[in-house]
Amino acid sequence: MAGLELLSDQGYRLDGRKATELRKVQARMGVFAQADGSAYIEQGNTKALAVVYGPHEVRGSRSRTLNDRAVINCQYSMATFSTSERKRRPHGDRKSTEMSLHLKQTFEAAVLTNLYPRSQIDIYVKILQSDGGNYSAGVNAATLAVIDAGIPLRDYVCACTAGFVDETPLTDLCHAEESGGGTSLAMALLPRGGHIALLQMDARLHQDHLETLMEAAMTACKSISKVLDQVVRQHLQEVSALTGE
């Protein structure tokens, strides 16, 4: 690996974390009043907003309507100022189109779409500040937003990234680690059943290491799910206490 030393001899990473330590996660549900559901999440310096509209009547061409389940419609975009180098367009480029598709597939696996025939659910994710693990932060925010909208889910969807440096798996990569050129694996998991909703790995890795890396990513996703769980329960308690009765 050129230049930067991603893992020191003492076992610390660039930002002082241990190999499998996650960044600090802070989140809030119900950020916006107009949408059906919304959430904001900070994972370290990565910040993402997710908004959910629906379920509602299918918009645009009626031919998209599915008679046995809801259509999930996703858009992933990044604010033009979110990256250190300014982006020219917030969405529509190849990368964000791919991410939109991944989001759609991830949530089709988790949302109980069969309960809403002929409807549509919109999930919009916006990265406000990017520092590695954008997609994961987006998925986690979207999970919270879907729960906020009261849309039935099989389970949380939790996402996290993992990398592999010096025979050691690193979890929740920051931008410097992601762009360091090493392996980076993104995973979205339904933690209770251990179902993997998304798995994507760029760059090469010896087959023998794949299992260790996936193991680390799954553990990280489960830790994220605990954090999200806390956020949801906290929100639930606060609101129920207010509604009273």
Partner: protein, 291 residues
């Protein structure tokens, strides 16, 4: 939602309310809704601000990049504007749906903010004809609840106030070529003088009168609006009529007068707030989206 549909009877109700100077939310014709402003929201930018006005939410990021001065103004830097009407604000904006509104908004922003009377563009010049700072002002719409222009203009002024451009040291090497060195020290930076940066006031003609800070329902009753940008001294720097209907000269004159007065009054509380926020520095917990 970018637009709303309302019934004839609701329109009549709103029109009569404006006539009596009692709007649906209890405001008078010249009252703004409660506004919240916070700066320094995005660390990847050189300056940023978030403004919420009613349920309208706007996030503005300013990025300074080194570019080449325009041939017509060799000793000045310049500003670029982009408005992202994101699908977060309303599903109508999905895909290319928000592009039209985005272009309309950003074109007006060029006229209002991208000129010498708004900012000292000369201070953005690094070496005449060769290098200058280009400020990319990117607006992100997060929620639409009417009166986008005014909210955006306040957010831009706040973000420009918050902008910190690294100091530049020019040195010449042996061949006579210039080398640009950016200061590493985050405190060694240049601030912009935003004193003359205008604020926009949108006046919406509703019936025979006009209102400021129109909600979407009021906008739906109005045939035309006037956009006026006003500096802290009360100087009008830009006037635009928008909307499908027409306005007679007399009401344009009246609206300009109102706009001037209302716009002038926006600056003092905004500057006071920005200075207060800065003086609190790290003592103040950032609210952001977590509040």
């Amino acid at each position: 939602m970018a637009t709303v549909q309302i019934s004839e009877a609701e329109k009549v109700y709103i029109l009569h309310g404006v006539r009596d100077d009692l709007r649906v939310d209890g405001r008078g014709c010249e009252d703004y809704r409660h506004m919240e402003v916070e700066t320094d929201m995005v660390s990847n930018t050189d300056g940023s601000a978030k403004v919420s006005l009613g349920h309208t939410d706007v996030l503005v990021g300013v990025k300074a990049e080194i570019g080449k001065p325009r041939p017509v103004a060799r000793d000045e830097g310049y500003l670029e504007f982009f408005v992202d009407c994101s699908a977060n604000a309303t599903p109508e904006f999905e895909g290319r749906g928000g592009d039209e509104l985005g272009v309309e908004l950003s074109n007006t922003l060029y006229k209002v903010f991208g000129n010498r009377s708004s900012l000292d563009l000369k201070s953005l010049c690094i070496s005449p004809g060769e290098h200058c700072w280009v400020l990319y002002v990117d607006v992100l719409l997060l929620q639409c609840d009417g009166n986008l222009f005014d909210a955006i203009s306040v957010a831009i002024k706040a973000a420009l106030f918050n902008t910190k451009i690294p100091k530049v040291h020019l040195s010449e090497d042996e061949q006579g070529g210039k080398e640009i060195e950016l200061s590493d020290d985050p405190y060694d930076c240049m601030r912009l003088n935003v004193e003359n940066v205008p604020c926009v006031v949108t006046l919406c003609k509703v019936g025979h009168r006009h209102v400021v800070d129109a909600t979407m329902q009021e906008k739906a009753c109005s045939v035309a609006s006037l956009i006026i940008s006003v500096t802290h001294k009360g100087t009008i720097t830009c006037v635009r009529k928008v909307g499908g209907g027409s306005l007679d000269p007399e009401s344009i004159f009246e609206m300009t007068e109102t706009g001037k007065r209302v716009g002038k009054a926006l600056h003092a509380p905004l500057m006071e707030l920005l200075h207060k926020e800065e003086s609190l520095g790290k003592k103040r917990d950032k609210v952001g989206f977590l509040g």
